[in-house]
């Protein structure tokens, strides 16, 4: 087999996959299924993340997940851990006034309530970890680059905004270091002010320079749209927005007339789509080396969708597996197991990522290295 060429997958593919896993996680409280989903996400991240700064964020999400589970269990213990019968231990109950109905502080802690907290926390943690996996696999900025042309300005503004934070922390660090060279006289307010003034001045100057630089390179060149065309675009966008709002409200509120639900939502989506297209046409801008959908992308996205679909089927048909009772040891059906394992496929089917530290030439060298090794054998 020839060596797989390293390339970055379309960011949207990773997001579809991760959202698929997240949907699957939200459809169950089975701890075995949830832990497997976390393991699947972790495995794929370990196999297919690059060495970019954002790739290192997965650990943070894992820690956040652990934190969420702990908090959830702790809350169950502190606020009425008494549902169920199997008492683990009894804490002294804090008497509360009568008007606080249904809330109990401390008291007996049962296995059921702790387990309920654990399952619940695990589900939320898995959701967060799935999103974290998407974040560390796909460059968030590249995702923004893939927005439709009509939203280009918004996308650029977001990209610039994301680069402001590291810059701010950078100049804060610099100014603080500089102030250690000078000493700190005066009260707390003065100390704060001597940090804030130079940092803000710095940020302001920087953004002026960036704006000038972007302007000098053609950002925001005027299009060739007539007044009428612009009005049509605006009208379409407004209709779309209204349609989507009314439609989704009617979908969720069962008492609303049915003709408001489906048809209105469809109308809204169509109008919004038309609006985006019309707005996109005025933009005389092209994209350099856009990310393309190839079989790899399809496979990755599909694996996430399949996992979500299988979990949906399990949740609707096999209730005992999806929402196990708290008094028994949870089990997993073969179908659910296979469904979750499909989610791990990207670890194999996705191409290896390009490494940022290696520039163009060394990438070629590394990708051919195994062949060289074979030759030397």
């Amino acid at each position: 087999m020839s060596t797989r060429l390293a390339r970055d997958l379309h960011p949207l593919a990773w997001w579809v996959w991760a959202l698929g896993l997240a949907v699957a996680a939200s459809l169950t409280t089975n701890p075995i299924a949830l832990l497997m989903l976390v393991a699947v996400a972790g495995l794929v991240v370990a196999c297919r993340r690059g060495d970019h700064p954002w790739s290192r964020s997965f650990r943070l999400y894992l820690m956040l997940g652990v934190f969420i589970v702990l908090i959830r269990v702790l809350f169950r213990i502190v606020f009425g851990g008494g549902d169920g019968t199997r008492v683990l231990f009894v804490l002294p109950e804090v008497p509360l006034p009568d008007w606080v109905l249904g809330i109990r502080l401390l008291g007996p802690v049962t296995l059921e309530s702790v387990l309920a907290g654990l399952y619940d926390g695990l589900r939320l943690a898995t959701l967060v970890i799935c999103i974290g996996a998407a974040n560390s696999l796909a460059n968030p900025k590249r995702l923004l680059r893939s927005v439709p042309p009509a939203l280009y300005e918004v996308g650029t503004a977001l990209v610039v905004a994301t680069s402001v934070l590291p810059q701010l922390s950078d100049s804060l660090r610099r100014v603080r270091a500089a102030h250690r060279l000078r000493g700190a006289a005066g009260g707390r307010l003065q100390v704060l002010r001597r940090l804030v003034v130079p940092v803000l001045e710095d940020a302001l100057e920087r953004s002026m320079r960036l704006a000038a630089g972007m302007d000098a390179r053609g950002y925001g060149r005027a299009g060739t749209l007539t007044r009428a065309q612009r009005q049509v675009t605006g009208l379409l966008m407004l209709t779309g927005l209204a349609g989507i709002c009314v439609g989704s409200y009617a979908m969720l509120d069962q008492t609303a007339p049915r003709w408001l639900a489906g048809p209105m939502l469809a109308l809204g989506v169509v109008a919004a789509f038309g609006g985006l297209l019309a707005a996109g046409r005025r933009v005389q801008r092209t994209r350099y080396r856009p990310d393309r959908w190839r079989p790899g992308e399809v496979a990755v996205a599909l694996s996430g969708v399949v996992t979500a679909a299988v979990m949906y089927a399990v949740a609707t048909r096999d209730f005992a597996v999806a929402y196990p009772v708290l008094t028994e040891i949870p089990t997993l059906s073969l179908g659910a197991l296979l469904g979750i394992l499909v989610g791990a496929l990207p670890a194999v089917v996705a191409p290896p990522p390009r490494q940022a530290s290696a520039s163009a030439a060394p990438t070629e060298v590394t990708s051919s290295a195994p062949e060289l090794a074979e030759v030397s054998r």
Binding site: H52, P198, E201, A212, G213, D215, A216, R217, G218, R221
Partner: protein, 528 residues
Amino acid sequence: MIELRGVSFGYGEGGRDVVSDVDLTVEEGELLLVAGRTGSGKSTLLGLFNGLVPAFTGGRLRGDVLVDGVSVLGVPPRELTRVVGYVGQDPAAGFVTDTVEEELAYGMEQLGLEPATMRRRVEETLDLLGIADLRGRDLRTLSGGEQQRVAVGSVLAMHPRMLVLDEPTSALDPTAAEEVLATLTRLVHDVGLSVVLAEHRLERAVPFADRMCVLDGKGGLQTGDPTELLRASPVAPPIIELGRLAGWEPLPLSVREARRVVGGLRERLGEPVLPVEASGPEALRGHGITVAYGQAAVVDHVDVRLERGTVTALMGRNGSGKSSLLWALQGSGHRRAGRVEVDGSDPGSLSPAGRRALVGLVPQTAADLLYLETVEQECDAADREAEAAEGTCRRLLDELVPGVPAQAHPRDLSEGQRLALALAIVLTAGPVVVALDEPTRGLDYPAKAALARKLIEQARAGRAVLVATHDVEFVAVVADRVMVLAEGEVVSEGPTRRVMAESPAFAPQVSKVLGPDWLTVAQVAGSR
């Protein structure tokens, strides 16, 4: 091709004109060098070409700007990208994307070029600027010279007819500066591009210039042949000073030209009067200093010895660990290993106040130290912070630069005045060692000469002065000893004359012309 016709420009109502009634035409395929003292309006003049002035600065503009005879007054910069490519003073501040390749493509995306065209032009630009091996790199990980070349490439890919650069080499080490200028010259020769370039360090840029334009600081402008203009220019590189002194006619612009006419001068000068090597009691001793970020050592087991009464220069490439070493010596910076000893104690183990009394440091961005509204407030605060007698800081400031208005806002001061204020604040604590990080950035020749005099005075008054800098000519004037860092290690150290003679990249112009015993024009003037 592009013409400023009768242009006057001033900031604010009733203020004086920064440029007044200026006529300037840039021809096809020439390299025009803009020179002048700090604050004489070089950046303003450059911004006029593509409308950044007054679009981003405000102010009053009279006169007309023409491209091929058609007025483009009031046209915003974004619509002029096909005519003028502009690279600002700090290229990193203008980057919009993450990687080199995307940055090169950004401008073309705005122009709406075909993807195939974009792809081709990106490859061409990568080759033209010699940055093909950087294509996938994160922009923030590039060195200063690489960033500058990417910035040039990013506007060049849009195929403008003219390139405007504001101090492209001011932050670069001598080798990187040479590379950037050579690249620009190649563009002028091969592509027929017009280049307009503002620069403080004329010794770097003058040899490449076809024409020169000198701002007199009162709004006026002289344009002409560099040889003619430099005769009376208020700013001139050492080689021109030498030529003026020796009465060479015509003035040589490059070291090569000067070598051809030097013959007689060397005989007339005879043996050089070597300056007495300054030395004094030890002020600072550092042993095995190591600074690391993560696993990478940026300063690797460096030994330092500074003497009272001497000025030591710290040189080396961008990113060779100069700043990290300064911060480590001061004690505020993190030190992985090693000892520093000043007056029997280690500044790293003292309180911030204790450190300041031993080692003072003026950071790279001197303005970081300043945060109050007036010079007077800054000085008072400095006195209080250092628990010095009232008026100490002001007296020091007056010694450095007399006549800084007490009510002026620190940001309104000139570069030189602001640096002097920062230095005065640092000196108020009475440190034994004074360290300065890249102090010459943005200073013109007279300001640099003044700074050199003041630093030498400080040293002779019993302090040890340590200056990290790229500026070879400044080192030749100010330093007694030189330390060269590379990859965090000391690669050469010793008296200025010896170190500079050893490495051609660090040789000042005068010694390139007259030989290693001669370093400065003042030295030549002294032996006549």
